[in-house]
Symmetry: C2
Subunit: 316 residues, 2 copies
C-alpha cells in the first residue's frame, strides 16, 4: 500500500458519499420516526452536498415497521439537482412501488454467504440472483439506475471467511445480469485494510467501467482505515451513515461508518467530498433528538481537527 515518494499518486482527488442513515440507520431503531420528521431530516441532509441519499426501503411494513411510510417519504422530500434518491428494494413488489415514486436509483441486496443470505433474506446468493433477473426485467424501461449491494463481501458473521474468488464470481454474475453499480459491504465490520486493498484493486482492474461503492462499518475501529485503503486503491464512492447510526441485527456491538467522521477525514486530507462539513455537522448534531439516544459519531463531540481551545489559566 506504500507509494514510493517519486511516483505521482493515483489516489482520487474527489469522493462521493451515499448517505444511508434514513434506511440503514432507522430500520433497527426502537421507535418509529414520524414521516414529517424523516422528510425534514432528509431535506436537511440533501442540502449539504451529499451525492446520494438512500431514503428508505420499499419492504414489507411487517418486516421493517419503521420504514412503513416509504412512499410518503420519497414523494414528500424535496428533489434537488445533483442529489440522487436511492431506495432499497427486497423484491419485485418493492421495485414496482419504488418505480411509482420516481426514484433515481434502486438498490438491491443479496449476501455473498449462504447463511447470512438465509438469515437476512431467506435466500441463497443464487436465489437472489434469480430474483434480480426478474427485477431487472420489470425495471428495464424505467431508466432507473439499478445497483446491487453485496453483503458479507468481507466476511460472514456466521460462516467466517468469504473467499475473494467467491465475491468476484458473484460480482461477475451481477454485472452479467445487467446490474449497473455494485456496493461491496462489510456488513458486520470484519474487513481489514489489506483485505480491502486486495478486493478493491481486483474489482477495479476487472471492471474499470462499473461504479463500485464501498460500505464499511466501524465495529472494530477500522472503518476509516478501511475507507483509506479503498480510496488508495482508487475507490471514490462510499456509503456512510450519519452519526454512525445503524448496525446489523445479527451481530450486537455493531457500529456503522459515520458520515461526518468520513467526510472530516477526507476533507482534512484535501480530498473533495462535495459536502459542506459544517452544514453536515449541524444536521448530525440534531440526530440524538430525532432518534432519542446518543450515537457513536466522534467529530460532532470532539469538534473538527481545526478546533482551537483557550489556553488554560495556570494556578501559579
Amino acid at each position: 500500500m506504500h507509494k514510493p515518494m517519486s511516483q505521482p499518486s493515483p489516489c482520487p482527488t474527489i469522493i462521493e458519499i451515499n448517505e444511508v442513515a434514513p434506511r440503514d440507520g432507522l430500520q433497527i431503531e426502537a421507535r418509529f420516526v414520524p414521516t414529517e420528521e424523516k422528510i425534514r431530516w432528509i431535506d436537511a441532509l440533501s442540502s449539504t452536498g451529499l451525492r446520494r441519499i438512500e431514503a428508505t426501503s420499499f419492504t414489507s411494513p411487517k418486516a421493517i415497521p419503521n420504514l412503513r411510510d416509504a412512499a410518503d417519504v420519497v414523494t414528500g422530500i424535496q428533489r434537488r439537482k445533483g442529489v440522487d434518491i436511492t431506495v432499497l428494494v427486497p423484491n419485485v413488489k418493492g421495485t414496482e412501488r419504488a418505480l411509482a415514486c420516481q426514484v433515481d436509483e434502486i438498490n438491491l441486496v443479496m449476501s455473498a454467504s449462504n447463511s447470512h443470505g438465509l438469515a437476512n433474506l431467506r435466500m441463497t446468493p443464487e436465489q437472489s440472483l434469480e430474483q434480480f433477473a426478474v427485477i431487472l426485467d420489470v425495471s428495464k424501461d424505467s431508466g432507473v439506475f439499478i445497483n446491487a449491494s453485496l453483503s458479507t463481501a468481507f466476511g460472514c458473521p456466521f460462516e467466517g471467511d468469504v473467499p475473494e474468488a467467491r465475491v468476484l464470481e458473484l460480482v461477475e454474475k451481477l454485472i452479467g445480469l445487467g446490474i449497473q453499480g455494485v456496493t461491496l459491504c462489510d456488513t458486520t465490520g470484519m474487513a481489514n485494510p489489506a483485505q480491502v486493498k486486495s478486493l478493491c484493486e481486483a474489482v477495479l482492474e476487472r471492471w474499470p467501467d462499473t461504479p463500485f461503492t464501498l460500505h464499511f462499518h466501524n465495529t472494530r475501529g477500522m472503518g476509516l482505515a478501511n475507507a483509506l485503503a479503498a480510496w488508495q486503491a482508487g475507490i471514490i464512492r462510499f456509503d456512510a451513515s450519519l452519526g454512525g447510526l445503524g448496525g446489523c441485527p445479527f451481530a450486537p456491538g455493531q457500529r456503522a461508518m459515520c458520515t461526518e467522521d468520513l467526510v472530516h477525514m477526507f476533507e482534512a486530507m484535501g480530498v473533495d467530498t462535495g459536502v459542506d462539513l459544517d452544514a453536515l455537522l449541524e444536521v448530525a448534531a440534531t440526530l440524538p433528538d430525532l432518534i432519542g439516544h446518543d450515537v457513536p459519531g466522534q467529530v460532532v463531540k470532539a469538534g473538527k481537527s481545526t478546533r482551537r481551545y483557550a489556553m488554560p489559566v495556570r494556578e501559579s
Copy 2:
C-alpha cells in the same frame, strides 16, 4: 499512498508496540490505582508480547498524584527479557530517580508548539531542549536509552497548525543533542493520514537510522487510519494505550489509540505485532474494574473479526 499491483510492497512485516496506559492512561484518572494493582496489571501486560511498557512517570507527586508511587512500581514489577521498561521523566531530578530504578529507557517530553509547551510543561521548545542537554549529560554513563516525545507534532489545540518544517527542525535539534529515539505525538487527535504520510516519509528519509515511534489518538476516529498511513510509510513502532485509556487534560473529548484495537488490525492484515492478542484482550477486559469505568476500546466489546455468531432462529 497507492502501490501499483506489480510492485513489491515495502510495508513492514512486523511492528512493535509501546504500551503507555500505565503512564499516559492513569495520569488523568480520578482515582489512585493502588501500587500492588498497578504492578499486577503491568506484569500481566508484560507477558503478552508487548515490546515496551511505559510504566510510570517520575514526576512531582503534587503534579500527578496518581503516579506518586513511580519508584515502587518500577522496582516492584517483574522484568522480562525482551520487554523494555520505559518511564517518562520531566526534569533532571526525575532522571536521577529513574536511573536509580534501573529502567531500560527514559522518555523525555517536549512540545513542538510554544503554547502547548507553556501550558503542559511551562517551557517553550527551546527551554525544553536546553533541559534535555542537561539530562543527557546526567544520564550519559548509564547506558539507558534516551527517547524524546514531541507533543503537538501534528497540530496544537491552542495554536492550530504546526508546520512540518518546524517539526523537522526540532527533530534535528533532538538528534543533534544525542537523543536516541524520537516519538512523534498527535497529542489531541488532529492528525490526518495525508499529513502522517508526509511527516513519516520525511523523517525516515532524513534520519533512516533513528528509531521513530508514532503516538496517535483516536479523538476523531482516525487513529487506526493514521497508524495505517504511518506503517505504509515504513514506521514500525507505535505507542498505544490499553482500552484507549487516556487523553489530554486541555482538550476534552479525547480518546487515546487503543492497544488491542491496533494489534487486532495489524494482526488481521498479517503483520506480526509480537503480541498474543487473546492474552492482551484478557488483560484489557479487566481494565474497567481496575479504573472503575468503561473505556472506548472496541474489539473487547465486539470480539475479534474472526468471531462467529450462531444463526438466528427464524419465527416462520
